[in-house]
């Protein structure tokens, strides 16, 4: 397949050279796409309309770099070549470009930029690398999600393998600005003569003769919105969810489908890359009030396509149910893979309370392997000799702002409330730790009571008061060493506030300071 080439130009007040430039570029370009600054005082727009394939009048608001990426998204060929209105390629560029565009190896090329000066009878390009520019990305594949054209003079950022063309090779970008400004070669500025069919000087700008019919002037706001949408640093963390349909009956250890409409209410495009890192997709997790997380990371479902700001897509989300029957909190929400859940950035997830009945499927064929909720390491009544491993303190719960572990409780905890923390395998604690040392703080309490801290076993642990507090809202802190749960509560720690008056609450803070390692076990499999 012969590849095609779009040449993109952003220009202003160039009516004295634009027709000539277009004629030069036509030799190798399949399409000329030009953005003309709406603030031009000369006839640039009319000249562009006569010579280019697509012309846009753009109101850059004094920021010409705003238009770059927007303009490149208007190009429709296989490759994009970026030139300025005082830059050209050699006369035989069509021959030189052919093999590059046909080579399947690279996604982009860096071209040497050669400053052209007046050498008397001829023109020449400056060979002293100290006075020249470094090769720059000027030629790249026009594929979705592959490039982002920089602002502020920065070259486009293109993903994939690129190739830098040799500085003394036949193909380079000849920059004519110096020659047109009258710069001549000197002993301090040695130049290599080159045969370029270039006017040695430019005439005056052409007066504005008419207003050509351009479909519309692209506003500064439109350009800014585009930059924000495609900028990878624009936060994607704003979304709404709508449940389209859900299964009415769920049984243990099997798959189910959920249809969820997801709307992008952020200013960023949500990417769906063929590489995992950074893409936005829909995930789920399961928990119970008594045991906390049961499945902390369920299957993920891909978005059908990159989702633009304001766009809504329906995702068919696959779920795999827990292996034990019960009533579960099913949390469905977006995530940026290898980064964070949207709820960690303040977006309310879709939460469903679902009952999962006992199924008849054999337990042999597991969907999830590794440590499962019903793994039993040992008899909880059997004391385990342990070593204490001291770690830098890590906060795993702060109900004042919801920080700590993913899904950490937020807001004051009501009297008789239970909080379950999955600490084994997190916060620097190894997955097979038998216990933890934590610093527990109760504050802002408005009733007399106590807090029980114990290895998660599905109860509220009323028999184990640890931290007593008063109703004066003063903080009370206690360092506690407690066994972590086993079996279904594996690796978890429960905190239970004693019953009190209706509406009474307290805030909780938990910092992990160390963990207990069963004697004879090594800590090689350290936690994330």
């Amino acid at each position: 397949v012969a590849s095609t080439l779009s040449v993109a130009l952003i220009t202003a007040n160039s009516s004295n050279r634009l027709a000539w430039w277009c004629e030069q570029v036509r030799r190798y370009a399949d399409h000329l796409v030009i953005a003309v600054d709406a603030g031009c005082v000369d006839d640039t727009l009319a000249v562009a309309c006569r010579h280019a394939d697509e012309v846009f009048a753009v109101d850059t608001g004094g920021e010409p770099t705003l238009v770059r990426d927007w303009l490149h998204h208007r190009c429709g060929d296989d490759w994009i070549l970026l030139l300025d209105d005082d830059e050209i390629l050699p006369a035989d560029a069509a021959c030189l470009l052919g093999p590059l565009l046909g080579d399947r190896t690279f996604t982009h090329y860096l071209l040497p930029i050669r400053q052209v000066v007046d050498c008397g009878a001829d023109l020449g390009w400056v060979v002293d690398p100290r006075s020249g520019q470094k090769p720059a990305v000027r030629l790249w594949r026009n594929l979705g999600g592959l490039y982002r054209s920089g602002a502020g003079g920065v070259a486009p950022a293109v993903l994939g393998r690129g190739c830098s063309l040799p500085e003394d090779g036949p193909l380079g970008v000849y920059s004519l600005g110096s020659a047109w400004a009258g710069t001549v070669t000197t002993s301090a500025l040695p130049a290599t003569a080159i045969a370029l069919d270039v006017p040695r000087s430019l005439g005056p700008l052409l007066s504005r003769t008419q207003v050509p019919e351009v479909s519309q002037v692209i506003s500064t706001d439109q350009l800014r919105r585009h930059v924000i949408t495609y900028c990878p640093t624009t936060p994607p963390w704003s979304a709404t969810y709508r449940l389209v349909n859900a299964p009415t009956e769920l049984t243990t250890n099997r798959g189910a489908l959920l249809r969820v409409a997801v709307k992008n209410t952020s200013a960023a495009l949500w990417p769906t890359s063929g590489c995992r890192r950074g893409r936005i997709c829909l995930g789920n997790r399961w928990s119970t009030p008594e045991f906390g997380d049961e499945i902390s990371m369920g299957d993920t479902s891909l978005l059908p396509n990159p989702v633009a700001p304001g766009e809504e897509v329906v995702v068919e989300a696959g779920l795999w149910t827990p292996r034990l029957p019960g009533r579960y909190r099913l949390t469905v929400e977006l995530m940026r893979e290898d980064d964070a859940w949207f709820s960690q950035h303040g977006v309310n997830p879709l939460i469903l309370w679902v009952s999962v009945k006992s199924g008849d499927a054999p337990q042999a064929t597991r969907h999830y392997v590794g440590r499962l909720p019903d793994d039993v390491d040992r008899d909880p009544s059997d004391p385990v000799p342990s070593l204490l491993v001291v770690r830098p303190s890590v906060r795993v719960l702060d109900t004042r702002d919801g920080s700590g572990l993913p899904d950490a409780a937020r807001g004051p905890i009501g009297q008789d409330g239970l909080v379950v923390l999955r600490i084994g395998g997190a916060a620097g604690v190894v997955a097979h730790a038998s216990g933890v040392t934590v610093m527990v703080t109760v504050l802002d309490a408005d009733y007399h009571g106590w807090l029980a801290v114990f290895g998660t076993d599905g109860t509220k642990g009323e028999a184990f008061p640890v931290v007593h507090f008063a109703d004066n809202r003063h903080p009370v802190t206690m360092t506690v060493t407690a066994a972590l749960g086993v079996g279904r509560g594996h690796g978890r720690l429960s905190l239970h506030l004693s019953p009190g008056p209706v509406g009474a609450t307290a805030q909780l803070l938990v910092d992990v300071c160390g963990y207990l390692l069963p004697a004879g076990r090594r800590s090689a499999s350290s936690a994330q």
Binding site: G144, L146, R161, A256, L302, W320, R366
Partner: protein, 271 residues
């Protein structure tokens, strides 16, 4: 206007019983068929592939096909690469369905919805409309630009392809029909799962539930195949080994590993 071309890449072993059907199915939409035959094949697979494929190579494998994927894709000359296994097929009208996708510049890769085909109680063919068989996407179709992709060599790996990807609609016309459940008896599938378990890491999914679907059959909805779609319900007996074309050389497992190492090192992907 020139049309983008498609290379279909297959890594296979002892598949002489299904390759005639597979080639008949693939040839209408493939501009090029590139086949790697496991050097351990003993049933004439190489001979058949060499007579019918555009490129046929012999590779040394160790139980899984993934270490050959990236190397094989690089032997392809089409504008796009489609990876298929010898028990997988696209719909009969794939040629028409693929055209617009290959011409769409917005995407560098496509995730294909997967349909696991079985016989229903009446013997009619249907696919499993239930997670995890349904709604999953497998990234199998991408632009053949080596600087754009890398296929790691680990079991059940997902290719890394830079740029925007599109997950085709699960209920749409273009899907990947997976025929292993239809063609393999339960005992063979149990053996396959056991082999995967021995190769997978302790935290990796073994995909046992995919292959032993009968355990969940009571709650799985079945969807009949489209009227114009059909697949052989059983394979012809595997032919006895016969003399024929044999590979002049074999790409060793060490060479495949070396290829992947170099590719990973040379990759300058910003992610």
């Amino acid at each position: 206007v020139s049309v983008p071309t498609l290379s279909v890449c297959l890594t296979t072993r002892n598949a002489a019983d299904r390759l005639p059907w597979w080639f008949e199915r693939v040839r209408p939409y493939a501009d090029e068929i590139v086949v790697a035959v496991d050097a351990g094949s003993s049933d004439g697979t190489f001979d058949f592939a060499a007579r019918h494929a555009d490129v046929t190579t012999s590779v040394e494998l160790a139980g899984i096909v993934e270490p050959s994927r990236d190397w094989l894709a690089q032997q392809a000359r089409g504008d796009w690469v489609l990876i298929l296994d010898d028990d997988e097929a696209l719909p009969v009208d794939a040629g028409q369905l693929l055209g617009p996708l290959l011409e769409d510049r917005r995407y560098t890769s496509y995730g294909l919805p997967v349909r696991w085909v079985v016989s229903d109680v009446d013997g009619r063919l249907a696919w499993l409309h239930c997670h995890p068989w349904h709604s999953a996407h497998w990234l199998r179709l991408w632009r053949n630009i080596p600087g754009l992709y890398l296929v790691p060599g680990t079991i059940h790996t997902t290719p890394v392809v830079l740029g925007h990807s599109r997950a085709l609609p699960p209920a749409g016309p273009l899907a990947l029909y997976h025929l292993n459940l239809l063609w393999s008896p339960r005992a063979a599938r149990e053996a396959k799962v056991a082999r995967y378990e021995s190769l997978a890491g302790p935290e990796d999914p073994t995909a046992g539930e995919f292959y032993l679907y009968e355990d969940y059959q009571s709650t799985v909805e079945l969807v009949s195949l489209p009227a114009d779609e059909s697949f052989p319900t059983a394979l012809a007996p595997r032919p006895a080994r016969r003399d024929g074309l044999t590979p002049s050389q074999t790409t060793t497992y060490a060479q495949l590993e070396d290829h992947l190492r170099k590719r990973a090192a040379a990759r300058q992907m910003g992610g």
